[in-house]
Assembly symmetry: C2
Homo-oligomer: 629 residues x 2
């Protein structure tokens, strides 16, 4: 893991901690609601929230959850969260940080509905740079939020409130957005993780667009595993979203990744020496911690980023706000107004020419992914105070987006994770980038950098469910060397295998031990003399099955195995040749391979006292296979 | 198949026929070149070709092929073809039908290189509407081509020459392009098939763009199976093309497709009664020939089509030709000039607004694909004479694109096939449409409508090679009911299984027959008394393996089978229980399940004369499995 000198300012509890407390009966949703309201009121108006759901409705929601017949079926039971105020929640106003633009939402965005359906408690709508236009957090008519790191540092934007609500520990996660870095700069400046998935994996229906062609729903949480857990719940194809596409699941081992790093000379810290030092310390650790790193030129990435604000995409914002701006120019903050007005100077040909230039850059970047699995960069090159951001709104904003602007244009996915502090106490952060649909890869690397164990239990269950519903996996019954603590278990896990259950066969099986030095178990159907044999069921991508079989012992075949509960599944059984094996011993009475091995090692221990190590075995000669009368 | 009253005007030989003649030694590439040059010279300047490779170089190419050490390795050995003159071939001029714009190409487009690498002979560059802007074929400073159906009918455009070169039988296929129908209207108007793949499946590197965001390389051939064969060779990811994406392979049975058809009232024939009648006859056949049809509203498709020419995409053409137009306005045909100049009136906001509107239409169309696998429409609603097209260049063009304009904007793939003649002798054509990446589905349906057997042998070999290189399949050895002429063979083919070879096991196997009424073979390793047993190797998507195993007889397992050539592969073997089966007979000496069955049916025939039907069998009791001393 990345050795952060500072664990970040997060005061709240993670989703996992909350869930554990609920299960243990140490907490109720009502208690939780009171705690969250207490924290919010304690901080006063710090610019985090534009609106908070009133106590009455929060308690009502808590009680509703408490009366749920099956809380265990709700993966986010009682977990509080906030939503950026550019995303609709029915019955609440959507302001986009422009009170004159605000409207009462009639429907709830699907990303929010999915969270509510999972048992989460919506606490309120969070502050943002007006029209989600900005990366600094100061462009709001509401209270200007500050970074939790103090010293008048900006919160970052546009998802300023979404980052603060998590960083102050009020809620464990929030829903934000990212069009050019809005979902990454604020968590980076508040010392917490954030994740911008590949475009189209989370539906943007119900979002007030900034640039429709680039907008992504993003997530901010107090840990990468919480980001993953929430992402699992909200990533879904939605054919009302023209950019919707299917998530691509990957089983990733971040330790084996090829890590792309730019030449240090290509990195830009805007003269911020302490930030440079903090980043280089993190890089040193990465260079030592990974076997394979590749030096990647930053040119094509930065060229794409430059296109965003020097090019015609700002005109896309006019398709949303142009009419309002013409109608109510004074309702819009001057800085936002001047940015939006800049969009009207571009022609249609400018758009196509910029898209063609971007296309060329995409092809150059596509070739760079041949040499790396992930690219790691600073999330921000420097930080600013509110005063600095207000004094030079465009310059500071451009600097803040130096590493983020290109991500959306190049169709990348990205996560930011805290990476220690500068010597003067400001947050440093790393950004992990991957090509489109490499979301699992990016999350795995972010978890590795954050020093988090990935939430294996949670993830596995989700993956099992997902894989099974996708029809691409098979259940496999294993009896010997593939059991989860046995030497060939790795043949399954390395191919995406996941342990589902420990169980037994139906009683009409015998277990033989075949071979001497490298003994293997052999499962054989038998009408008499059988017993329930201990097995495990695994789920395995079907494509891996043949490789597992090829790697297994020669006498092993795949056939149907009848389980104790009456189901049958594909599993390892013995082929006909084992019956003739002179070394075959019937070990059915041990009830399983593990029990046999345990007895062996006990009897080996006893050996030194002169006992017969095979005393408990009977030779297979008296074995009668199934179907004999 | 669609019962076309007319098989089309094609005079030439298909790729398959040419290849067969070459293999039989009935033809040499030199003969072929002379024949092609003869045909071209016989027709004179009919507007098909802008440039033809000179005889010297064609003969040189023919001789080069004749000296090739392994002609069988070249799937297009000696097959002549033409290329639309907006696609670069090194050493030849690219004119885009504008002599003043023409330049000598320095490199060959990868789509052409792949064909040359496959042994094809490039004959020349074909005529087109200038700058590939038009659907009628009259917008050229060269000779205006006419449809092979005569009566002064337009050839269609912009790929006018590419369609004619095939329809007149000069070459069996040509490379064309399709930005709004340019690859579909000309084959439809000349009674031959054409195919516009999903965008990005064939590299557009080396193409002079019309609208980069919509351009596709397309193919025109004298049969759908030739289109498929050529597509197999040229579809390839190219990371120099920003729109490049990977082909998605499907195993399709067009008979099971859900066929989308619009309400007849939504169809537009521009007052062309005979065309309407010809189309309705084809529809009647489709409605009778397919079990499942669905009525699909055409509105969202046509709305998208209307966006193309009423919207800002014409400005995209200016990014390519704007500078030339400003510099040399007189070098551009007046109709093209006025179209291009129209592009400058659009703003950047117009582009984004049109893209957003298109996004909405895409989501509506995406939902329609839930109810159908393919959509079938007329390819064109009517035909025009050259005089009509010249008199009303914009009106006729809009009518010609009624059914094609939306295909590119909505990211669809499409094929056109001839569908008989109107009562007054003009060609009618059907268009099969599918969503992005449903190319195999569209080709399968087009082949079905054209009454063609799909080129199974060719396709299978390609699919085997592709699947194996993708690592997603497994080789499976089958010995009994899964053999290609046996009852369970369908378990393999229905899951994408493909027969690879007929071979034998190594000699240390025995074959048993187990069971009485529904006897199954059982393959068992045996150190003595074994023989080579007839087997087949199949390739099967790994994901299907478990289903095949689950559907197989209960005593059957998957294990490793050693083949006669020393390789081993996963295959069906017997589990240990069969040895105890009282019904088991050793039938090893037959050498295989088919030979056993043949002997059985002979002996059953003999039965009626009193012979012993099992006379040749020996009971398995004396069977000794492998590894016994």
């Amino acid at each position: 893991m990345f050795q952060s000198p500072h664990s970040g300012p997060v005061q709240g509890r993670s989703i996992h901690e909350l869930t554990t407390s609920y299960r243990a009966g140490e907490l109720t949703p009502t208690d939780l609601v009171e705690t969250v309201l207490g924290k919010i009121s304690e901080r006063g108006d710090d610019g985090t929230w534009i609106s908070v759901v009133d106590r009455f409705h929060l308690i009502l929601r808590a009680k509703e959850l408490e009366q749920h017949p099956n809380p265990a079926s709700l993966p986010l039971y009682g977990v509080p969260f906030g939503v950026k105020d550019s995303i609709d929640v029915a019955g609440l106003p959507t302001t986009v940080a422009c009170p004159e633009y605000a409207y009462q939402a009639a429907a709830t965005a699907p990303v929010v509905s999915r969270l509510l359906d999972a048992g989460a408690i919506l606490v309120g709508k969070t502050n943002l740079d007006q029209f989600a236009t900005g990366l600094n957090g100061t462009r709001t008519p509401y209270t200007v939020p500050r970074s939790v790191f103090g010293n008048d540092l900006i919160s970052g934007g546009s998802s300023s409130g979404s980052a603060l609500a998590v960083a102050t520990g009020e809620v464990p996660f929030t829903v934000a957005t990212d069009t050019a870095g809005s979902g990454r700069v604020p968590p980076a400046l508040n010392g917490i993780p954030g994740f911008k998935p590949s475009r189209g994996l989370i539906s943007t229906v119900g979002l007030v667009p900034a640039c429709r062609s680039l907008d992504c729903i993003s997530l901010i949480a107090s840990s990468v595993s919480d980001l993953s857990a929430v992402f699992d719940l909200v990533a879904a194809v939605d054919d009302r979203d023209p950019h919707s596409r299917m998530r691509q699941r990957d089983i990733c081992d971040a330790n084996n990744f090829r890590v792309g790093l730019p030449d240090v000379a290509e990195l830009e810290f805007f003269g911020d020496g302490p930030m440079r030092e903090a980043h280089l310390a993190a890089r040193t650790w990465i260079e030592r911690g990974f076997d394979r790193t590749a030096q990647i030129p930053l040119g094509p990435f930065l060229d794409a980023g430059a296109l965003l604000y020097s090019g015609p995409w700002v005109a896309e914002r006019l398709t949303e706000f142009g009419a309002f701006l013409a109608d109510r120019p004074d309702a819009v903050l001057p800085v936002i107004r001047s940015i939006l007005e800049g969009g009207s100077r571009y022609t249609a040909t400018d758009v196509f020419a910029a898209e063609h230039r971007l296309g060329e850059l995409r092809t150059r970047v596509a070739r760079l992914w041949r040499d790396m699995d992930v690219l790691i960069l600073p999330a921000v090159g420097t930080t600013f105070t509110v005063e600095q951001a207000v004094a030079d709104p465009v310059g500071t904003n451009t600097a803040l987006g130096h590493y983020t602007h290109f991500g959306n244009l190049l169709d990348l996915c990205a996560a930011v994770v805290p990476a220690g502090l500068t010597s003067d106490g400001r947050p440093a952060a790393l950004m992990v980038l991957g090509p489109a649909l490499a979301d699992d890869r990016v999350l795995a690397m972010a978890a590795r950098l954050a020093g988090e164990e990935t939430s294996a239990d949670h993830t596995s269950r989700r993956e099992v469910a997902d894989s099974i519903s996708a029809g691409s996996t098979t259940t496999l019954v294993v009896v010997g060397h593939h059991l989860s603590d046995q030497p060939r278990s790795n043949d399954l896990t390395s191919r995406g295998g996941l342990l589902v259950s420990r169980t037994f066969t139906a009683p009409n099986y015998r277990l033989l031990r075949v071979g001497d030095v490298s003994a293997v178990p052999a499962l054989v159907r038998a009408d008499s003399g059988g017993a329930p044999i201990e097995v495990e069921t695994w789920t395995l991508p079907s494509a891996g099955l043949v490789e597992v079989l090829s790697a297994a012992a020669e006498s092993v075949c795949l056939g149907r195995v009848l389980l104790a509960d009456g189901r049958s599944a594909i599993g390892f059984v013995a082929d006909a040749s084992v019956l003739a094996e002179p070394t075959a011993l019937d070990i059915t009475h041990f009830g399983g391979w593990r029990a046999y091995l345990a007895a062996q090692s006990e009897s080996h221990a006893a050996d030194s006292h002169g006992a017969d190590s095979h005393g408990a075995d009977s030779h297979a000669a008296d074995f009668q296979p199934a179907h004999l009368p």
